[in-house]
């Protein structure tokens, strides 16, 4: 019981100690609690912050990767596009260069071909020179021809004069006009006289002036030289129709020298014409036949003479066939009774039978 007493005393103290300790512990507990809460709070906050940080890091990471991926993808497109555009631009430039060269070439060659124009003008001037020289030659040739013609004409005249004045030639005894004894060599006229043949008298032309006027028509004074071959013309597009005679023949006929009848040639007052007149009058007075007067009787005389054709005339005059009847009265007149011997009669029946075989209906 002592212990109990002591314990009781202690109890008080213990209570007080207990109280005090519990108060202290309680207070400590509160502060500890607060501290613990604080600590926990802080720690939790750290934890949460760390978590948030982690989260945000992750989010950033994801976003980073995603954005990188997107951009890279987009970048490829951009690069492609840029490359494409660059290529296009390059091609455009090259195309422009090609077009530029082509257009320049084309225009210079086909549209405004300056070099061809220059060459053409040079060619034209060359050709002109050539043509001019040719024409000059031609003109000179013509002039020469004319001169030659004039010279020849003069020569002809001189020769003709020499022939006419042949009597002026000098003889052995008497020197002629052109051969003076004082000269060393004879005059050229003298030489010409020696060479030329004397001229004979020309036949005088006969005929009245009126006949001349009618016959010597201004264009055909005398017929031109006889033409043997006609110049070759190109074949005409349309040949003139009809059978034409040989042109040589025609020309020969055309240019036969004129031989007018006596009646046309002579004048009205010449004796034969007057004589004819007289007999004509006599004939009027006493006609021999009583035909009606027909003008151009000589023409009708030729026309009226009838010559029967040989095939129509029979023994006793004209045959009636051809005029009275036209069909043969007895058609067998010209057919004889004799049989005709054929040289190749053997083949004939064979041919016929073969044909018969082929198409019996035709030959049946």
């Amino acid at each position: 019981m002592a212990a109990l007493a002591r314990l009781q005393e202690k109890l008080q103290r213990l209570q007080e100690e207990y109280f005090l300790t519990y108060r202290a512990i309680d207070e400590e507990r509160k502060t500890k609690y607060k501290a613990a809460v604080r600590i926990q709070r802080w720690f939790r906050a750290c934890r949460v912050r760390a978590y948030l940080r982690h989260l945000s890091k992750m989010a950033i990471l994801i976003q980073k990767w995603w954005r990188g991926y997107l951009r890279r993808k987009y970048f490829r497109e951009i690069v492609e596009r840029a490359y494409f555009i660059k290529k296009l631009e390059f091609y455009n430039e090259m195309a422009v260069r090609i077009q530029k060269m082509w257009r320049g070439y084309y225009v210079r060659k086909y549209i405004h071909n300056f070099s061809a124009l220059k060459r053409y003008l040079e060619a034209v001037s060359l050709n002109n020179e050539f043509v001019r020289s040719e024409l000059q030659e031609y003109a000179e040739m013509k002039e020469n021809e004319e001169k030659m013609k004039d010279l020849e004409k003069k020569e002809e005249e001189e020769k003709y004069q020499a022939r006419k004045m042949h009597y002026l030639l000098s003889t052995a005894q008497i020197p002629g006009i052109y051969n003076s004894p004082l000269r060393k060599s004879p005059d050229p006229m003298e030489l010409l006289l020696r060479k030329s043949k004397p001229l004979t008298h020309r036949k005088q032309k006969m005929g009245s002036s009126l006949a001349d006027e009618l016959y010597c028509w201004p264009t055909c004074e005398k017929p031109p030289a006889f033409v043997t071959t006609l110049p070759l013309l190109p074949a005409p597009r349309q040949k003139p129709q009809g059978p034409f005679r040989d042109p040589g023949e025609v020309l020969r006929q055309r240019y036969k020298p004129l031989e007018p009848t006596l009646r046309v040639r002579e004048s009205m007052n010449s004796p034969p014409a007057k004589a004819r007149e007289a007999t004509g009058r006599e004939e009027w007075r006493s006609p021999i036949h009583d035909n009606k007067f027909l003008p151009f009787s000589s023409y009708h005389k030729n026309a009226e003479k009838y010559e029967p054709s040989i095939c129509n005339s029979g023994k006793y005059g004209r045959e009636a066939y051809g005029t009275k009847y036209f069909r043969e009265v007895n058609p067998k007149k010209w057919i004889a009774d004799k049989k005709v011997k054929l040289a190749v009669c053997a083949h004939q029946p064979q041919k016929q039978s073969y044909a018969k075989q082929l198409c019996p209906e035709l030959y049946g």
Partner: protein, 502 residues
Amino acid sequence: MSLRLAYSAVSGRGCVKISVVCLLRPLLLDVIPSVRQTVALALGRLADHDVEMAEAVVKAGILPQLICLLPEENRYYKKTAAFVLRAIAKHSPQLAQAVVQCGALEMLVVCLEDFDPGVKEGASWTFGYIARHNAVHLRLVCLDTWSSPPCELSQAVVDAGAVPLLVLCIQEPEIALKRIAASTLSDISKHSPELAQTVVDAGAIAHLAQMITNPDAKLKRQVLSALSQIAKHSVDLAELVVEAEIFPVVLTCLKDSDEYVKKNGATLIREIAKHTPELSQFIVNSGGVAALIDCIGSCRGTVRLPGIMTLGYVAAHSENLSMAVIVSKGISPLSACLIEEHEDHIKAAAAWALGQIGRHTAEHARHVATANVLPTLLDIFVDTRSSEDLKMKTKKALKNILQKCTYLPALEPLLHDAPPNIMKHVIGQFSKVLPHDSKARRLFVTTGGLKKVQEIKAEPGSLLQEYINTINNCYPEEIVRYYSPGYSEILLERVENYQPVL
């Protein structure tokens, strides 16, 4: 007796009375052929002499009697009958119409079929005279007696079937017959394209083209004239003529000694060249231009005219052809022509041709200007004796050339004495060239051009004033003021008002 009377009438003197015709009329039906021939000859001589006699012959109604039995007559009578008809028909269209109305055309065709060349010649000559007239005259002056509707005389000749026979006549060997047939074909084809086509269809072109090489000058004249009348109507006909291979043979005709052969040859080339550029090109390629230019240089007077017109036509088609004309030395004969010739129409043609050459580009205008042509043109334009037509053509030519001319040294002389309407173009050209060329500006000042420009008075707002302003703007202001008129007075005034600073 009758023959004596006829013979006295044949000589053409004495009584020019209708009684003569009435006396001759019964003799036409005389039995003796020589009487008929003499009477016909007498009638022909009478009608040939005088229009009144021809009308008297027609009025007496002799023509039907003359030609009624023509096919049976001999060739002398046919010749004489053709002579009578020709003598009547040549005077006037009414008489030709009368000849046609009495049925002469069929008889003449019968004459054309005859073998004698003299007869053919007479007949084709008559056809030529008939076809020369045309229906237009008939409508203007109609006598009461001719009551039938007017018909084309050339068409009547063609309808009678004369053209193929004429083409056959051309092939005959006689020169005179060829000449007459060619001139008749030329007269027929000149009126209208249809008639020309008829002549072409008869195959005339080949034979005509063959005859160009013939040495006879008169024949060549007619042949060339016929071809040019055919070619002038349309492009197709001209091409047909060209296809007959006349080039380059035609160029030898341009060198012929006969003036009219040259003229007709140049006419033919002109009628071909004027249709299309291709034909002109062909002519240039065959050297025709050179031959023409030589021809122009060697001739004088109207003979030159077709050649000048050809050059104008060729140059008018395109600038290449124009350059070809320039290269063939075409400008100098044309300018010589302008100066030498007295006739106005030739000068007008030359001016027109020069205008056609120079109007294409600056190059062409420069060539024309360097040949010293512009002052000549200006002189002609200003000259009071020139006709209206000449002035108009010169003005047009000047205008065309000036609008393209950038060769300033040639424009200088024009500045000084040109009338205002020309001056406008000259100043215009200056105003186009000066802003771009400094050397030209310097030259312009030193030759006194700027001074002249300042002296020109122009209405403000007009084109001339604008040009003058453009020129003034090319120069610094002092120079413009220096050259403006009255500047010396202004300076002297300034001297007077100046107070000297001591």
